[in-house]
C-alpha cells in the first residue's frame, strides 16, 4: 500500500509512521482509510478495556492460574471457542463491509479502496478458515472427546495447551495487522507468484505466511493429540465400534489434520524462503513454478474442507439422535461413510485447478473422484433422516440447526457436483458461483454444526442452559441471512461475475448485489442475537441451572457427570458394555443405575497448570512479528525464549497434582445426593425452568 521510509531500521525494522492506519487516515482521510483506522482503534481500545476491567475487578491472577495456564482439556476447549467467536465477529463484519462495497460500487468506485478491499477478502478467508473454523472445531473436540471416550484428559495436556497458544499467537498476528502495517491481498490461498516479493513487496504477505504457519503447526499438534487420545485413552470396554459418532468424526478429522497440515506448513515456509532468502520455488523466473505451490496448497486445502465438516457431522449425529429420542440409524454405515470421506478427501485436490491446463484425462479422473465423495456424504444425510423415522422429534435449537443443515447442505452438494464436472468448472471457477458453493457447504456444514454443538453442550460446560427464545431468533437469522446472502451469488457467478471484485461495471448485477448485501446484514443480526442470547442466559442463569448434568436425555458419557463437570471428569472411570452405555443404563430394565454410588474411590492424578505453553505460543508470535518487520534481533531473542521454555519444561518437577480419594468421594457423593433430590422432567418440559438436568426415564 504505502511505502514509507523505515525509522531506525536496527530497532524498528521496516516500520515507518505510514504503517500506522491512524497516520494514514490523518494524512489522507478517505472513508477507506478512516475505516482502517477505526478498525485499528477498535483493537487497541478493546485490548485496553479488557485489561482495565481485569485490573478493576482484580481478576488477573484468577485468569492466569485458572484459565490461561490451565492444562485441563475442558478449559482449553472453552478458550479455543472464545477465540473462534472473537475472530468470527471480526470476519463477519469484514464480510458485511465487502457486501456493502459491492452493492454501492456499481459503475462507481464505492467507499473502499481496491487495496483495502483486497485485504478484506484475504483476512476474511484466512480468519474464517484458520482462526474461526479450526479453533471452533478443535475446541469442541477438546471439550467433548475425552468425556465420550471415558477419559480424564487428552493424551498430551501440555502439547494441547501449546497448540492452543500457537493458535492464539497466530490470531494475535491477524489482529496486529490491523494496527501495524497491512495484510496480504493474496486471498486465503496466497497463490504465488502474486505473493512473491516482486509483486507484493509489503509486510502483508509476511503477516499471512506467519499467521498461517503458526496456526498450521498448532493444528498438526492438535491432530496428533486427538488421534492419540482416541487410540490410547478409551475407557475399559470402549471398543472402536462402541464410540459415539462424534468421537469417530474427531478421530477421522485428526488423522486428516496430521496428514494435511504439514503440506501447508511446507508450502508457506517455502514461500517464506522465496521471500526472505531469494529462493525460487514459486517465482516466475529461474526455475520456479507455482504449480508446485498449487499442488501442495490443495493437498492441504481439500482435506481441510473435510477437517472442517467431519466434526460438524459428528455433532449432527449426536443432536439428531438425542432430539429424535432414538438410536442413531445406520451406525456402521456412518462409520464407513466417515472413513470413506476421510480417505477420498486426499484424492481430489486437482479439482481446484481444473483450469490450469492439465490433460482431459487427469481432469476427468479427479472430477470422478470428487463426485464419488457425494455417495458417502449422501448416505450420512439419509442416516440422519432415518434416525428421525419412528422417533419423537423435539425442535430445540440444535435440532433446528441440524434440520436446516440437511436441507441446505444438499443444495451445496448439488452445486458441488456441478463444480466437479470439469467442463462446467471451466465456466464457474473463480466466479461468485464458487464463492456461493463453498459458503453453502461451510455455513451449514461447519458453522451451523458448531453452533448446534455450542447450544447442545453449553449446559454441560457451564451448568446452565442457553436462552431458547434468543437461540431461535439467532437460528432464524442465520438461515434467512444465509439464503439471502449467498443464493444471489449463484446467479451472479453464472452471469460471469468474478470473485474478489472491488467495483462492478455491469448494472444488471445490481438487484442481486442488493439482496446479498441485505443478507449480510441479516447474518450480522444473527451474530448479534447470539451475543444477546449469551448475555440474557448469564443474567437468568439461576432459573436454568442443570447441575444434575443431563438436560437433554443425552446418550454419550459426557451426560453422566455433573454440569459443570469436576476437573477429573469421572470420579470412577466407567466400564463400557455397549454403544450407548449411559443411555441404556438409564433406560433399560436390569441395567446398573448410572447414579449409584461406586464401591470405592481412588486418588486421581491431574496435570498442574503450566506457564511455559503460554510463553511458547506468545514468544513464537513475537518471533513471527520480528520476522514480518525484519526486526531480526527481536526474532532471534523470541525464538531463543521458545527453545528455553521447552528446555526448562523438560527439567520441571511436580508437574502433576494428586486429588485424594477422599476429596473425590466427597464431591461425587454430594453431587449424587443432589441428583437424587432433583425432579426428573419429561421431554415436553426440557426447555422450561423446571429442567434441572435430570431426564425422566421412559422405557
Amino acid at each position: 500500500m504505502t511505502v514509507s521510509a523505515p525509522l531506525w531500521p536496527a530497532v524498528l525494522g521496516r516500520f515507518g509512521w505510514q504503517d500506522l492506519p491512524f497516520v494514514r487516515a490523518w494524512e489522507n482521510p478517505t472513508i477507506s482509510e478512516l475505516i482502517g483506522a477505526f478498525a485499528g482503534a477498535l483493537v487497541v481500545v478493546g485490548a485496553v478495556v479488557v485489561a482495565a476491567l481485569l485490573t478493576r475487578y482484580g481478576k488477573w491472577r484468577y485468569l492466569w492460574t485458572e484459565w490461561l495456564t490451565s492444562l485441563d482439556h475442558k478449559k482449553i476447549g472453552i478458550m479455543y471457542i472464545v477465540v473462534a467467536f472473537v475472530m468470527l465477529s471480526r470476519a463477519l463484519v469484514e464480510a458485511v463491509l465487502m457486501r456493502m462495497q459491492q452493492a454501492v460500487a456499481i459503475e462507481h468506485p464505492g467507499f473502499l479502496s481496491p487495496d483495502h478491499f483486497g485485504q478484506l477478502f484475504s483476512t476474511h478467508g484466512s480468519i474464517m478458515i484458520f482462526f474461526m473454523a479450526m479453533p471452533f472445531l478443535t475446541g469442541m473436540i477438546n471439550y467433548v472427546l475425552p468425556f465420550q471416550l471415558g477419559a480424564r484428559d487428552m493424551a498430551f495436556p501440555w502439547a494441547n495447551s501449546i497448540a492452543l497458544w500457537l493458535t492464539i499467537g497466530a490470531a494475535g498476528l491477524m489482529m496486529a495487522s490491523l494496527v501495524v502495517g497491512e495484510f496480504s491481498t493474496g486471498g486465503w490461498s496466497g497463490y504465488p507468484p502474486y505473493t512473491e516479493r516482486a509483486f507484493s513487496p509489503g509486510v502483508g504477505v509476511d503477516y499471512w505466511i506467519w499467521a498461517v504457519t503458526l496456526g498450521s503447526i498448532g493444528s498438526t499438534m492438535a491432530g496428533i493429540n486427538i488421534a492419540c487420545t482416541v487410540y490410547k485413552l478409551r475407557a475399559p470396554g470402549m471398543r472402536f465400534m462402541r464410540m459415539q459418532m462424534f468421537s469417530w468424526t474427531s478421530l477421522c478429522t485428526s488423522i486428516l489434520m496430521i496428514f494435511a497440515m504439514p503440506p501447508l506448513t511446507v508450502a508457506t515456509l517455502l514461500l517464506a524462503l522465496d521471500r526472505y532468502l531469494g529462493f525460487h520455488f514459486f517465482t516466475n523466473d529461474l526455475g520456479g513454478n507455482m504449480m508446485n505451490y498449487a499442488n501442495m496448497f490443495w493437498l492441504f486445502g481439500h482435506p481441510e474442507v473435510y477437517i472442517l465438516i467431519l466434526p460438524a457431522f459428528g455433532v449432527y449425529s449426536e443432536v439428531v439422535s438425542t432430539f429424535s429420542t432414538k438410536d442413531l440409524y445406520g451406525y456402521t454405515s456412518l462409520v464407513i461413510a466417515t472413513m470413506a470421506i476421510a480417505v477420498l478427501s486426499f484424492t481430489v485436490w486437482v479439482h481446484h485447478f481444473f483450469t490450469m491446463g492439465q490433460s482431459a484425462n487427469v481432469n476427468a479422473a479427479f472430477g470422478i473422484a470428487t463426485m464419488t465423495i457425494g455417495v458417502p456424504t449422501g448416505v450420512k444425510i439419509y442416516d440422519w433422516i432415518w434416525t428421525m423415522f419412528r422417533g419423537e422429534v423435539r425442535f430445540t435449537v440444535p435440532m433446528l440447526y441440524a434440520l436446516a443443515f440437511m436441507m441446505t447442505f444438499v443444495l451445496g452438494g448439488f452445486t458441488g457436483i456441478i463444480l466437479a464436472m470439469p467442463p462446467l468448472d471451466y465456466l464457474v471457477h473463480n466466479t461468485l458461483f464458487l464463492v456461493a458453493h463453498f459458503h453453502n457447504m461451510l455455513i451449514p456444514g461447519l458453522l451451523y454444526g458448531m453452533l448446534a454443538g455450542y447450544h447442545y453442550w453449553f449446559p454441560k460446560a457451564f451448568g446452565f442452559r442457553l436462552d431458547e427464545r434468543w437461540g431461535r431468533i439467532a437460528f432464524g437469522c442465520w438461515v434467512v441471512g444465509f439464503y439471502l446472502a449467498f443464493f444471489p451469488l449463484y446467479v451472479l457467478g453464472a452471469s460471469g461475475m468474478a470473485r474478489r471484485t472491488q467495483a462492478i461495471f455491469e448494472p444488471s448485477f445490481r438487484p442481486w448485489l442488493y439482496v446479498a448485501c441485505v443478507g449480510a446484514f441479516v447474518l450480522l443480526a444473527a451474530l448479534t442475537s447470539l451475543g444477546i442470547q449469551l448475555w440474557v442466559s448469564i443474567r437468568d442463569r439461576a432459573s436454568t441451572r442443570v447441575e444434575a448434568g443431563d438436560p437433554w436425555d443425552g446418550r454419550g458419557l459426557e451426560w453422566s457427570v455433573s454440569a459443570p463437570p469436576p476437573e477429573y471428569n469421572f470420579a470412577v472411570l466407567p466400564l463400557i458394555d455397549g454403544r450407548n452405555p449411559f443411555y441404556d443404563h438409564k433406560h433399560d430394565e436390569g441395567q446398573p443405575d448410572p447414579y449409584a454410588s461406586p464401591s470405592s474411590y481412588e486418588d486421581i492424578v491431574v496435570p498442574r497448570g503450566s506457564a511455559t505453553s503460554v510463553v511458547i505460543g506468545l514468544a513464537a508470535a513475537v518471533a513471527a512479528f520480528g520476522l514480518i518487520w525484519e526486526i531480526w534481533g527481536l526474532a532471534i531473542v523470541a525464538l531463543q525464549i521458545v527453545v528455553a521454555a521447552v528446555v526448562l519444561r523438560s527439567f520441571g518437577r511436580d508437574q502433576h497434582r494428586t486429588i485424594p480419594a477422599a476429596e473425590v468421594a466427597r464431591e461425587h457423593e454430594k453431587w449424587l445426593a443432589r441428583v437424587r433430590a432433583t425432579p426428573a422432567i419429561p421431554r415436553q418440559l426440557e426447555t422450561a425452568a423446571v429442567n434441572r438436568g435430570l431426564a425422566e426415564i421412559v422405557a
Binding site: 454405515s333 433422516i385 467442463p423 462446467l424
Partner: protein, 282 residues
C-alpha cells in the same frame, strides 16, 4: 412507484444471466450449457428426496404427535441400506460416464471442427490483455476481434502473475501463467460483442481487467485485419515495457507490426525454457 421499481429490479435480475453461459453464443459454451442443464436435472433426483423427506419425517415424528409407533431401538434395515447406498452410487456412476465423455469433448485444448483456426496469442499483463495475431503481424490490447463462425485457437501465457481468462458466453476459462503455455479454443456463432475478463485476482486494478470480444462477419474481419496492419503504432520493445508496467488502459489499442516472436520471448523471460516444453505439438 415502489411496485414499478421492484418490477425494474426483477427485470434487471433476469438480464444479468444473459451475460453468462446460460446465453451461449458459441459451440463450446453451448455444449457446456446443455451439460449444465442435464446435470441439474439428474441432480434433482438426488436433492429432491432429501428436501422432501427431511421436513416430512421431522414434522410427522414430532414429539407431540402421539399417533405413531415409537421405536427407539430401531436402528438398522438392509432395505434402507440398499436404498441409501445403491441409487446414489448409481447416479454417480452415470454422471461419471457423462463426465468422462464431456471432459474429453470440451477439453479447452481440443481443436474445434471446421475451417482452419485463427491463431491468437494472449499475454496477460497487469491489468490488461494483449492479443497477438502472429499470422497477421498485428496486436490488440483489451479487444479481441474474431471472425464469426470460424474457430479461434488461443495460446496463453502471462508476463506477470497468474491470471485466468474467461469469456462466459463463448467458452470456459483457462489460466495464463508465466513460463507456461495453456490453450483455449473458442468460436462465436454469429457477430456480436461479448465480455471477457480475468477472473484471478492480481492486484488493485483487477476489477478493471475486462476486455471485449468482437465477433464480426468474415469479410469485415479481413477488412479489420488490413486496416490494423496499416496502423501507425507498433508493438516494439519500448512499447512493451510501457505496457508491462502496472496500469489500466482506458481504451483498447491496436498495433501494426509486433516484435517478432513476442510470445516466445515473454515465455522465455518468465522462465519458460527452463521447465516447460511447449505443447505446440498437440
Amino acid at each position: 412507484m415502489t411496485s414499478a421499481s421492484f418490477l425494474m429490479l426483477g427485470l434487471a435480475g433476469c438480464t444479468a444471466l444473459s451475460h453468462g453461459f446460460l446465453n451461449p453464443q458459441g459451440p463450446v459454451a453451448g455444449h457446456e450449457r446443455d451439460l449444465f442443464v442435464t446435470v441439474s436435472i439428474v441432480l434433482l433426483f438426488v436433492a429432491g428426496p432429501v428436501l422432501l423427506l427431511t421436513p416430512l419425517f421431522a414434522w410427522h415424528y414430532r414429539l407431540s404427535n402421539r399417533g405413531d409407533a415409537y421405536r427407539p431401538k430401531w436402528n438398522f434395515s438392509w432395505w434402507v441400506e440398499a436404498l441409501i447406498w445403491i441409487p446414489p452410487a448409481g447416479i454417480v456412476i452415470g454422471l461419471a460416464i457423462l463426465l468422462w465423455h464431456w471432459t474429453q469433448i470440451d477439453d479447452p485444448y481440443r481443436r474445434l471442427p471446421g475451417a482452419a483456426p485463427i491463431e491468437v496469442q494472449a499475454i496477460a499483463l497487469d491489468w490488461k490483455w494483449v492479443f497477438v495475431y502472429p499470422d497477421l503481424d498485428v496486436a490488440a490490447v483489451d479487444r479481441l476481434v474474431i471472425p464469426a463462425g470460424r474457430p479461434v485457437h488461443i495460446r496463453l501465457t502471462s508476463g506477470t502473475v497468474m491470471q485466468s481468462m474467461l469469456i462466459p458466453q463463448l467458452a470456459g476459462q483457462i489460466y495464463a501463467m508465466g513460463g507456461m503455455t495453456t490453450e483455449l479454443n473458442i468460436q462465436a456463432h454469429r457477430p456480436g460483442r461479448f465480455r471477457g475478463e480475468n477472473t484471478q485476482y492480481n492486484g488493485a486494478g483487477f476489477q478493471h481487467q475486462k476486455f471485449v470480444v468482437v465477433a464480426v462477419p468474415s469479410a469485415d474481419y479481413d477488412c479489420w485485419a488490413a486496416a490494423a496492419r496499416r496502423g501507425k503504432r507498433t508493438l516494439d520493445a519500448q512499447t512493451w515495457r510501457r505496457l508491462s508496467a502496472r496500469s489500466i488502459i482506458a481504451l483498447p489499442v491496436e498495433f501494426a507490426h509486433v516484435t517478432p516472436n513476442l510470445f516466445e520471448r515473454v515465455l522465455e523471460t518468465t522462465g519458460g525454457m527452463s521447465h516447460s516444453p511447449t505443447k505446440a505439438a498437440r
